[in-house]
């Protein structure tokens, strides 16, 4: 009895009135509560800041060779040691973040835009449009993706730009199929029929109703795909099909360090850790986004 009494008559017990809460804001609130997602986002932000301010953070340039300081182990002067040209690995790893993040973002942007467009066309218009687009996706997915990427780079010629294009291309079907299935289910929603019943045009329905309601899985897949793209870029560079010397691409650094593995393991260790951390960051962030945007996916 005592407990339920309102002790402060100035403040009546009324629930705070609901303010207009958009579904996006609600997702952000649930994302904020997810510790792993926040850790992932922090890692990603850390690398982004590192990439942006690389020239200010790095003690030396990417190709400042000092032949008298070759293969020094990590010390207070060279935190990550030096490589066989006497270059500071710490500085190179920091500059490498620029390349890897840039390649990751751009490649995913490319495959996201093209894939979404094709997926929307296939899902919304159906019929032969769907048949053609879906079969092309099937064909692309029939190849192991890295093999397809190697083939594309082989045709275009090895360079970082072409590696980026190859990664964008091989990821198109992933996005395309995701959006297509999403559009197919959103298309059945009653608000789409309702939109048609008020006389809305197809294109407007697509961009106003179908696309925004398909956004959540695109964002999740996009984040996770950045992680994959970074690995793929590193793999192509490792194979000598991506970044060229003296670019401090992490995969390229791994490849250069391969003969030195027993002699100077730090040359391989630090770029490897950098790749691992970035990918981990994006994956944690992506998982968190998925939990926040689609509560049904949570286990």
């Amino acid at each position: 009895m005592e407990l339920s009494m309102n002790k402060n008559p100035q403040k009546p017990i009324v629930p705070e009135e609901d303010k207009a809460v958009s579904p996006w804001l609600e997702a952000w609130r649930s994302f904020r509560k997810n510790k792993l997602a926040i850790i992932g986002t922090s890692i990603v932000l850390f690398f982004i800041i590192m990439a942006i301010f690389a020239p200010l953070i790095a003690p030396s340039g990417i190709n400042d060779q000092a032949l008298d300081k070759r293969l020094l182990s990590p010390s207070s002067e060279h935190w990550f040691g030096t490589d066989d040209f006497g270059r500071d690995i710490f500085s190179r790893v920091i500059f490498g973040a620029r390349i890897s993040l840039w390649v990751g973002f751009l490649a995913v942007m490319g495959s996201l835009v093209v894939g979404s467009l094709l997926g929307i066309l296939a899902g919304y218009y159906g019929k032969w449009v769907d048949t053609i687009i879906s079969r092309v996706f099937d064909i692309m997915l029939a190849f192991p993706s890295i093999l397809l990427a190697i083939a594309i780079v082989a045709v275009l010629g090895p360079s970082l730009r072409n590696a980026l294009i190859a990664i964008a291309v091989i990821n198109i079907p992933n996005f395309g199929r995701l959006i297509r299935s999403r559009v197919l289910s959103v298309k059945q929603e009653e608000y789409i029929v309702a939109a048609r019943a008020v006389g809305m045009k197809n294109s407007r329905i697509l961009f106003r109703h179908v696309l925004p309601n398909s956004m959540a899985p695109i964002i999740v897949q996009g984040t996770l795909a950045i992680a994959t793209a970074i690995i793929e870029a590193a793999a192509l560079s490792f194979l000598g099909l991506g970044a060229e010397a003296p670019n401090p691409e992490w995969g390229k650094m791994l490849s250069d360090a391969r003969p030195l593995l027993t002699q100077a393991p730090w040359t391989m260790f630090f770029p490897g850790i950098a790749i691992m951390l970035t990918v981990l960051g994006f994956n944690l962030m992506g998982d968190g986004l998925r939990d926040a945007l689609d509560p049904r996916m949570k286990n």
Binding site: S22, A197, G199
Partner: protein, 332 residues
């Protein structure tokens, strides 16, 4: 007599599948006068919703298609018109509200944005005017704090409120005809009554004709003036509400009325019509109701009965051989 707002003539809408053509709506004719509320009643799967989608020309195509017939809206036949013209008509001249108010609004946008968007399609003006009209519409459908609701998301409203918003959206461009596809089925009973009262008052205030599609005879009794009873894609009886309830002629209508619980008689078991609605396209000869009818005779199995006019006063037709008095058949 005034020309009808909507005049449907011998409409046939079929779905085409691997098994061939399946007529979901078969040779249906009816008309709706200005300011009239017409009820279309029938069990699930009898073609009510396909009828309404056909009028809006929103039947998913393929597999569906309007095979023949005419849909005259103020004299204009909608069957052959282009999609572009149809878009001008939808929302502006015919509007529609749906069964599930919980899912008929886009969850990502505020109520105001969605209302304004619907108005913008057909009306010219600036943002202020649209906004004012949207607020006015929300007030018209009896929503309290209309300005506040403009800034809220669909998930913040209850089912009844959302259905009011849907009605506001449907009526925002002043359509002459409103098609309501089971608008109260998903709502609880008190809200149902409110929504029906709202529709009736708007019908009187704005003189909008309404086609009320429902399986609930209570709804029909409440607000309709005339009723069409549909069975397996065909009209089996058409009459004024009074005649349908007082003097039903078709065995199916009688069965439907008997299945309604009556508060004055204490019944242990509610009556139900034996059997199920036949699958569309499964009956090719004879009366479609024959298999479930207690008055079935040889003629019912051999021929499909036409609509017979019932001798009494008013427009009352019934598709049953029991009412063949010779010479009163509509030949259709």
């Amino acid at each position: 007599m005034q020309a009808p707002v909507l005049d449907v003539k011998k409409l046939k809408t079929s779905f085409f599948s691997d098994d061939g053509e399946i007529p979901a709506v078969d040779d249906i004719s009816f008309s709706v006068k200005k300011g009239e509320i017409l009820g279309i009643v029938g069990e699930s799967g009898c073609g009510k919703s396909v009828t309404s989608l056909s009028i809006m020309k929103l039947v998913p195509q393929p597999p569906g298609k309007i095979v023949s017939g005419e849909i005259l809206l103020n004299g204009e036949n909608l069957v052959p018109v282009s999609e572009r013209r149809m878009r001008q008509i939808r929302g502006n001249e015919i509007a529609m509200i749906f069964q599930e108010p919980m899912t008929s609004l886009n969850p990502l946008f505020k109520i105001g944005e969605q209302l304004i968007e619907a108005i913008k399609i057909h009306k010219k003006g600036n943002k202020k005017e649209f906004e004012k009209q949207a607020v006015d519409m929300l007030k018209l459908v009896g929503l309290p704090r209309a300005e506040g609701i403009m800034n809220e998301y669909p998930h913040q409203l209850s089912g009844g409120m959302r259905q009011r918003v849907m009605i506001a959206m449907a009526l925002s461009c002043g359509p002459k005809l409103l098609i309501a596809d089971e608008p109260t089925t998903a709502l609880d009973v008190t809200i149902q009554a409110q929504i029906l009262a709202l529709m009736k008052s708007l019908n009187e205030k704005l003189d909008t004709s309404i086609v009320m599609i429902t399986h609930d005879l209570g709804v029909v009794a409440d607000i309709c003036q005339r009723v069409i009873v549909m069975y397996a894609g065909k009209v089996v009886e058409e009459a004024s509400v009074l005649d349908i309830f007082k003097n039903p002629k078709h065995p199916y209508t009688m069965g439907l009325l008997q299945s309604v619980p009556d508060i004055r008689n204490k019944q242990d078991r509610l009556y139900s019509i034996p059997g199920n609605v036949p699958k569309p396209g499964s009956i090719t000869t004879g009366c479609r109701f024959a298999a479930r009818c207690e008055f079935v005779h040889d003629r019912c199995l051999a021929d499909d009965p036409p609509l017979y006019a019932v001798e009494e006063a008013g427009h009352h037709t019934v598709r049953c051989f029991l009412h063949d008095t010779g010479g009163n058949g509509h030949h259709d």
